[in-house]
């Protein structure tokens, strides 16, 4: 078996693009649930990096790690959505702009 003939920098560019889209999603979207999805995108970008570097180095470790990351992502999503439900119960919204009880008082 040989590694895929795609230059590694193109894969890295894809990962970086996914990561940047994820960051922008967190920074720009007002819906908390979409922000959570964006975080998932960021984690996937990291996973992609792990997988491509694993292939280039010819070691399995990167793949193993991406498996772990998926498990962590699942746990994070579970807790995050639970907290979201908790917030929805007290605030009746998931708009991040309306979660502003805690701030620097003047």
């Amino acid at each position: 078996m040989v590694p895929i003939g795609v230059p590694v920098e193109h894969v890295i560019a894809l990962a970086v693009a996914l990561f940047v889209i994820g960051v922008l999603g967190v920074l720009l979207r007002k819906s908390v649930i979409v922000m959570l999805m964006s975080v998932e995108l960021m984690l996937n970008a990291a996973n992609l990096l792990f997988v491509v570097f694993a292939e280039r180095w010819g070691v399995a470790r990167g793949q193993t790690i991406s498996f772990f990351v998926m498990a962590v992502a699942a746990a994070e999503a579970a807790v995050g959505l639970a907290i979201l439900i908790g917030v929805f119960r007290t605030h009746n919204t998931t708009d991040v702009d309306e979660l502003r009880d805690l701030l620097e008082q003047s």
Binding site: V26, M42, A46, R56, V79, G80, L84, D101, E104, Q105
Partner: protein, 502 residues
């Protein structure tokens, strides 16, 4: 590595297992008790605290039984060197104190679930894994166990808007930071082909000395993103912004818990990362790390202290105080990078002192909370005259404030001497001057609470709700108060305990 190797490694993770078992037992107890009218808070904290303390003390005992060794175990994922053992012990001790303090308000602050203890103990096991990890993935798993548990704990007051908001903010920014860390870890993996600290250290040395292939940029960017992830957890500016909101919104006992244990665990893990992955314990392969840390330290101390001066809400003030302390500790870390052993010793000593003093301060806050005082805002006026109504609490709080501002004979002074000394010795004079100036500024806000306590008359009308109190809280406060004083006056034993860490 096969199964018998794994079994041979069991004794080394027994402390962690002890804590996890404690967590499982408390979880089952919580389930068993959930039928007993939880709506009215008929939950007695005693058995839970007892189980938690037994498991933590047992874990501490097991830790003392383990012989430290230089080589990583468990397939190179776990260190059981002195840094790891002492770090785990430090976290176990501080967590035991924090959990005892929480016992008082478990029934009064809208938290009627015994799962609080289970989650705290799981959280501690995650921290122990973090501190002992010598491999990025293992560290990450520990980090996530700790973080997820703390996110939930922050949101534990289910009916309180602030608590929920704090949990969400902490969670989202935490997940965001985790993703940054992971992205960085992937880059480090790409540059070095491994995630074990020892391997990263070797490769980094080769890469940066220029004899191997030039993937330095990948390594530098990756390591920097990892540092950013750590900086988030220790609440260093500009990655600190979750801290004031989360500290304010969380139940006070959780704030105390996370202010000390999360910071201690993150710092110990951070220390291992910069010392052993980006260096080899005595030398550093990555020269820029000192500049990055110095810059972070200066910004963190200054902004933390200036913001704390403004605060009227004591929980927020302590949040900024903990941010400022992250800055002081970063000064110590600069010293550790430059000078190795004595500086590491000073840094861990200071973490210990910071833990005792901050925990004690939050313990006093817990003791001042009133039953059903869910929206107790802990404004500074609340402290007027407290020194006369409850002299012991007042004196204890004053001791903690003096310790945090570094005034002798409290341990804070000794700690600061040991913390700043190596950085100065290494020639970072400007950094140390900024640090000392900052601790001068910090006296202003620490003292203002003491002034309110002892030099203002209490407001005429006071809530008649009974205060929250328990023997566990009293015990923990006594331990922290005398700890701060005794460690300050007779520091040598404690300093020796933290010696020879790398």
């Amino acid at each position: 590595m096969n199964i018998s190797d794994a079994l041979a490694g069991m004794p080394q993770i027994l402390p962690m297992i002890a804590v996890i078992v404690g967590g499982l037992v408390t979880m089952l107890m919580a389930v068993a008790r959930s039928h007993k009218d939880p709506e009215h808070g008929q939950l007695t904290a005693g058995p839970f605290v007892a189980v938690a303390l037994v498991s933590l003390v047992f874990a501490l005992f097991l830790l003392t039984q383990i012989e430290p060794q230089a080589k990583a175990v468990w397939g190179g994922t776990l260190a059981i060197d002195r840094l790891s053992l002492v770090g785990q012990g430090l976290i176990v001790v501080i967590a035991a104190l924090a959990i005892s303090m929480g016992a008082a308000s478990i029934t009064t602050q809208g938290i009627v679930r015994g799962e609080y203890f289970a989650l705290s103990l799981f959280c501690v096991s995650g921290m122990m894994l973090m501190v002992a990890a010598t491999e990025l993935l293992t560290f990450f798993v520990g980090l996530e166990i700790m973080s997820l548990a703390v996110y939930v704990l922050v949101g534990f007051r289910r009916s309180d808007r602030r608590s929920q908001e704090a949990a969400l903010k902490y969670f989202l920014s935490g997940a965001f930071a985790s993703a940054f860390f992971l992205f960085g870890a992937a880059m480090v993996f790409g540059a070095t082909g491994t995630t074990a600290y020892a391997g990263i250290s070797t490769s980094a040395q080769k890469l940066l000395s220029g004899t191997a292939f030039p993937m330095q940029t990948l390594l530098l960017v990756g390591a920097t993103l990892c540092v950013v992830g750590f900086a988030f957890k220790i609440a260093a500016v500009p990655f600190h912004m979750w801290a004031p909101d989360a500290y304010q919104g969380a139940p006070t006992m959780v704030t105390g818990f996370m202010a000390v244990t999360v910071k201690a665990a993150a710092f110990m893990a951070f220390l291992r990362f910069v010392l052993l992955a980006l260096g080899d314990g005595s030398t550093r392969h990555v020269p820029w790390i000192v500049d990055v840390l110095s810059l972070l330290a200066i910004v963190t101390m200054t902004l933390g202290n200036l913001s704390a001066v403004l605060q009227r809400n004591v929980k927020r003030m302590l949040a900024y105080s903990s941010i400022a302390h992250a800055g002081y500790l970063l000064v110590g870390m600069v010293g550790a990078l430059e000078r190795g052993e004595p500086a590491v010793q000073g840094l861990v000593f200071y973490l210990f002192v910071y833990g005792l003093a901050t925990l004690g301060a939050f313990g006093v806050l817990i003791a001042l909370e009133r039953k059903n005082g869910r929206h107790d805002e802990m404004l500074i006026n609340r402290f007027a005259g407290v020194g006369f109504q409850h002299p012991a609490l007042g004196v204890a709080f004053a001791v903690f404030m003096f310790a945090l501002s570094g005034i002798p004979p409290t341990a804070g002074f000794t700690g600061k001497v040991l913390l700043f000394g190596p950085a100065l010795d290494a020639g970072h004079i400007g950094l140390v001057i900024v640090a000392v100036l900052n601790s001068v500024v910090s006296v202003y806000y620490y003292l203002s609470i003491v002034v309110y306590m002892f030099m203002k008359n209490p407001p005429p009308r006071q809530s008649t709700e009974p205060r929250v109190f328990s023997p566990w809280l009293t015990g923990a406060l006594v331990v922290t108060t005398f700890g701060v004083l005794i460690v300050g006056m007779m520091p040598q034993r404690w300093i020796d305990m933290f010696a020879k860490l790398v």
